[in-house]
Symmetry: C2
Subunit: 145 residues, 2 copies
């Protein structure tokens, strides 16, 4: 059944990324950080909510994620002087420095896990999974969609 394949492949990729980081001597960097790191490489100093929207995670999920990233010395939370509710997330020196490693791990993961699968097929899978995600949100939120 498709659900089985989805959950296993998702978990497998997560574990593979974690493994590669460990092999780079970065046991404290995990798959979960990558989405946020990639966003921050586009530009840091954004709020937790903005980042959460970009990576499709709830605010309550972001709190713990940013906690762990801060503990791993990848980001800092700084108060926004213009909005005392908001915190702006900035890359630390380490967070900036590991960008090439992040790229390397992602590239290697892609090559390792899609080996034997053509780029066209990978694109097709992404497109179909995108469709599944869309179907879920229209069937879920809209109720009688």
């Amino acid at each position: 059944m498709i659900g089985f394949f989805l959950s296993r492949s998702s978990l497998a990729m997560k574990q593979h990324v974690n493994l590669l980081f460990k092999e780079e001597g970065m046991e404290d960097v995990s798959m979960g950080f990558i989405g946020v790191l990639l966003e921050l490489y586009k530009g840091d100093g954004r709020t937790i909510s903005e980042l959460g929207d970009s990576v499709s995670l709830e605010r309550s999920t972001m709190t713990g994620l940013i906690d762990r990233m801060a503990k791993a010395d990848l980001v800092t939370r700084e108060p926004d002087p213009a909005d005392r509710r908001a915190l702006r997330i900035w890359l630390t020196e380490r967070g900036t420095r590991i960008q090439p490693v992040v790229a390397k791990v992602l590239g290697q993961t892609y090559r390792d896990l899609t080996s034997g699968i053509g780029d066209k097929d990978v694109e097709k899978v992404e497109k179909l999974l995108g469709r599944i995600i869309d179907n879920a949100s229209s069937n879920g939120k809209g109720k009688n969609g």
Copy 2:
């Protein structure tokens, strides 16, 4: 990136299944139970380890899963008279009774989430995800594979 699609679609399916069970008035039945239930419908009275192997979950994960299934009155743990280490998992009356609902929810989920995608393409996705899962295990366990 493919990792994003995998984790989102996997989560989406999980939530969709949970939602459909809720709509059936079974808030306490969740996606996580399904793999084990389907195995038990093939034949119950198996050990936790056997079931874990069948659904590709670690023993430590199974403990909590069976706990929750027992709390939802779907299964019972019974000691194996022939092996005092082992516990045999049996379907309860409720566990047996909901089989048609499980089938219905699974069928509906399949139709909802793959709507707009041909059966051939779904099969193709399953096949390619299977390949990714295999790639992960050979690259992960074997190390320099």
